[in-house]
Amino acid sequence: MGSRANGMGGSALLETNAWASFNNPAALAMDTGNQIAGNYANSYLLPEIGTSALAAKFSSGTRAFGIGLSSFGYSEFRSNTLQASYAMKLDEHFSMGVNLGLRYLQLGDIYGQSFSPTASLGMMIYINEELSFAALLKDPFNFKIDEAAIDRYPVLLRSGLRYQFSDDIFTNLELEKALDKDLRIRGGFQYAHPNGFSFRLGLITQPFEYSLGAGYLKNRFGVDLSYSYHPLLGFSPQLGFLWNWGS
């Protein structure tokens, strides 16, 4: 989640911004300060399948708290998620976080609606000055979409590394295995210029996609723009903003 991560092929496990509430709750505690962020993601330039999201994080010392709200779809199919995260640093370089939420699914007028829980557990560690590692376990309990339904939200396990070449440049490599899908590999790269501009590039496998992104951060305000490209379905642009305070 988040335009910044989308520009890096969705490799988001080690992002310590407010979107960590969705991406990896452990990352919330790895950065001090508070942040509020908003994002709009359109899928394949179809107005009906866009996702609007808001997230905020509040951190102090070794603990952090995050909330997130997202809404996907249109009047005939809508999926909303409300979630809260709590993260704690267990060591100077290591944190763990947990996320609990509620999903609301509405299928047209006649198929009804359902509520189901969502949960995830994450961890993150700065191995040394260059290397970081993170892992996320999402929906480990294989929740059903609805009490009467057979379908379940798939378990998802992700793990990833970040190598920081310098203060300006880093690269991500993440593995993602959802229970019902093939392994996906996500790679990301960012160059951040000292004047506040960032440029991002990402690659994804199964199916192969690429993404590009750019961002600008000035004082406490930032804006990120990105798009990803699917060879058959086309472009998916995203636009996001963030506001920092208290850091």
């Binding site: 290591f94 560690i125 290397l131 593995l175």
Partner: protein, 678 residues
């Protein structure tokens, strides 16, 4: 200097903050993580570590075989320790290990918990002293229960196929004083076996006395026997090919040992003794016990019935009438003797033993197994040796069964440089070599019909980068199970281990195997053999965050090909470990997601388990596996452990088959264990 500081920092940390069991578990995990099997019997090895942890080996006065039996050091490294002692005098502290030329820091840390550096002192050999020291004997009582929560078909309420409940129960008591005596009783009931009225299904007991004059050891009850290079006689655990232990082709036999495991057939029961006189050792043993077998009755011309057996049952299950009919069906008698002659750097021995069964072994002979043991009597003789000549180690064994079948193995190891070690091992087992107690290193589990040469190498490329690998080329001169022609194969393994720092390690492993097997085609009148290949890749990142937290991430990929058909398997594993600051309690958690195209592409992964339990199960299909292992040690004499695991598959609606069928796509297992030590 940096090496010294690291060592000083690490050793006190190990001994104070971590428990003995944790250290032992780490060592055994290192050794066994590439073995494959639902339940591995490593009890004897665990007990060996426990014994050395409590009664540490004195670096100034140790038997080099004892140090070798830990399977943590190569002969060159042991020689380096002895050489250091000869040249620089007795060790003043364990920390001095870091100064031993030819012993890496990693290896020094591995053995440090099991050794000490004390002045040499002769132990009084009087009965008075013995009786006095007996009060320091260590008692250990283990009580364990485990159960799979989902009902299996065999326990159906209306039509039960098993007589007992689904609980597995285990109890063990052991009283041990090192170098003096050991007494132990073990009892076990498997799931499905009836407890009421019969008690435990399996009992084992032993009494061992040590160092009574020239008699080094006397065992009455259940025991194991391990001699030479395991070609003629070796019961219990024996190393297989492993990418983690590429140099471990040479065996360090422990002779006669008390038996404390729960394998219900693979041990000896009777009396055994070891006598020592100067450089000579004499081992004599007699065993008589009933074993499980599939018995057949045949009519003769004299209108009598003759009993034969077609196979020996090794499962140990006696859950219903059919299985109980096989229980203790035949009598097995084994008697033998071993004479060893030991010099400073050379050892030579002769082993002979005889086996007699109360009935004739009559296998369902096919063309492929027509040379295998198929009578009621066998006599096997062997001769073995081991010698260290400077930086070259030589070892070998030759053996002959009563039918004239021969087997031989020969190996050597060379220390080219303290950072470069090389090992070669050749074996040749004739198709008619018959020996059910052989456990030599080989491709197949049965020691017959195989020739091959194994090369291995360990190379410390950089201070942080280690490389080790092996190549094994083998052939089966006669037909084998599922191979209807003489065949050949090869296997390679390469492992790279990079230590970013003392707390971060990356491991990359590649393994390739190529061999022949019968074609799967049902349309051929004559089965042809075709090529099958298996490739495995594993990446593992270990991070020790601090004294409390550690994590491990693993990616495993498997690729299987046969007759142009390809299947692949993939697993992603995330482990998280926690140990409280006081060391009183700890937790280990795993979550793994896997997907394999077929059973041939299954992924194996080591799982943490209760103390004395080990498993490296196969993950196949599509699903996830999670477990949580909790350990709590409220006092020094009590330890409680609990493990909950859950396997869930998404590609099937049922698990297992027959009486073991679970009518659900998941399996949940709960086990708990109490250990009293005083």
């Amino acid at each position: 200097m940096r090496k010294l500081l690291l060592f000083l920092f690490l050793i006190p940390g190990i001994s104070s903050a971590q428990e003995a069991e944790q250290i032992i578990e780490e060592r055994i995990e290192w050794i066994s993580q590439e073995l494959e099997g639902e339940e591995l019997d490593l009890t004897t090895l665990t007990e060996l570590y426990q014994e050395f942890y409590i009664n540490k080996l004195n670096l100034n006065d140790f038997d080099k075989d004892q140090l070798a039996q830990l399977y943590l050091l190569s002969p060159d490294e042991i020689r380096a320790i002895i050489w250091h002692r000869i040249n620089y005098g007795d060790f003043e502290s364990v920390y001095e290990l870091k100064a031993v030329n030819g012993l890496s820091l990693e290896k020094a840390i591995l053995i440090a918990p099991f050794v000490t550096a004390s002045p040499r002192e002769a132990k009084p050999d009087s009965w008075k002293y013995r009786l006095k020291s007996a009060k320091y004997a260590r008692h250990q009582l283990i009580l364990r229960g485990q159960r799979i929560l989902e009902p299996k078909a065999g326990y159906d309420f209306l039509d039960p196929k098993y007589e007992g409940d689904p609980n597995r129960l285990y109890a063990r008591y052991r009283l041990r004083k090192s170098d003096l005596f050991s007494f132990g009783v073990t009892a076990e009931k498997d799931p499905g076996e009836r407890f009421e009225g019969r008690g435990f299904d399996f009992y084992s007991a032993h009494l061992m006395l040590e160092n009574i004059g020239p008699m080094k050891r006397l065992i009455v009850g259940d025991y194991q026997a391990q001699f030479g290079q395991a070609l003629t006689m070796w019961t219990g655990f024996g190393f297989r090919k492993s990418p983690m232990q590429v140099l471990q082709t040479q065996r360090y036999a422990r002779g006669l040992l008390p038996y404390t495991s729960t394998d219900e057939n693979n041990f000896l029961r009777g009396v055994a003794a070891q006598f020592e006189w100067k450089q000579f050792n004499l081992h004599a043993f007699y065993s008589k016990k009933r074993i499980d077998a599939n018995v057949n009755l045949s009519d003769t011309l004299a209108d009598e019935q003759v009993q034969t057996f077609s196979s020996i049952q090794s499962s140990g299950f006696h859950r219903n009438l059919s299985e109980r009919e096989d229980k203790d069906a035949i009598e097995e008698e084994i008697v033998g003797a071993v004479i060893e002659y030991k010099l400073q750097s050379t050892e030579i021995g002769v082993v002979n033993y005889m086996t007699r069964y109360s009935s004739n072994f009559q296998r369902n002979l096919s063309l492929y197994n027509q040379f295998e043991f198929d009578s009621s009597f066998n006599f096997v003789s062997g001769i073995y040796y081991r010698s260290q000549l400077g930086s070259v180690g030589l070892y070998g064994e030759a053996s002959r069964s009563i039918n004239g079948g021969l087997a031989a193995l020969q190996g050597f190891s060379i220390l080219f440089h303290e950072r470069l070690k090389f090992n070669a091992y050749h074996r040749h087992f004739q198709p008619n070599y018959q020996n059910l107690l052989s456990n030599a290193l080989s491709e197949k589990s049965r020691i017959t019909n195989e020739s091959g040469t194994y090369f291995s190498l360990e190379f410390q490329v950089l201070s942080k980068l280690k490389m080790q690998g092996f190549a094994d080329f083998y052939r089966f001169p006669w037909l084998s199970y599922r191979i209807d022609a003489p065949s050949r194969g090869q296997e390679y393994s390469l492992m790279l281990q990079y230590n970013f720092s003392r707390s971060v390690q990356l491991l990359a492993l590649y393994r390739f195997e190529d061999k022949l097997e019968n074609s799967s085609s049902q349309q051929e009148a004559v089965r042809t053999v075709v090529n099958k290949s298996l490739q495995q890749i594993r990446l593992q990142l270990d991070v020790k965050v601090n004294r409390q937290w550690s994590l491990r991430n693993r990616v495993a990929i498997r690729d299987y090909q046969k007759e142009g058909l390809r299947s692949q398997g993939f697993g992603l594993f995330q482990d998280l470990y926690y140990s409280s600051p006081s060391g009183r309690w700890s937790a280990k958690f795993r979550y793994a997601v896997f997907q394999t195209d077929s059973y041939d592409a299954r992924i194996y992964a080591y799982e943490h388990d209760l103390l004395y339990q080990f498993s490296v199960p196969a993950y196949d299909g599509q699903g996830f596996k999670a477990y949580l292992l909790l350990r709590w040690k409220p006092t020094d004499f009590l330890r409680w452990e609990m493990r909950i695991s859950r396997l869930e598959r998404r590609d099937v609606d049922q698990l297992g088959s027959g009486n073991e069928l679970i009518d659900a796509p998941h399996r949940t297992e709960v086990k708990s264990q109490l250990i009293f030590t005083f």
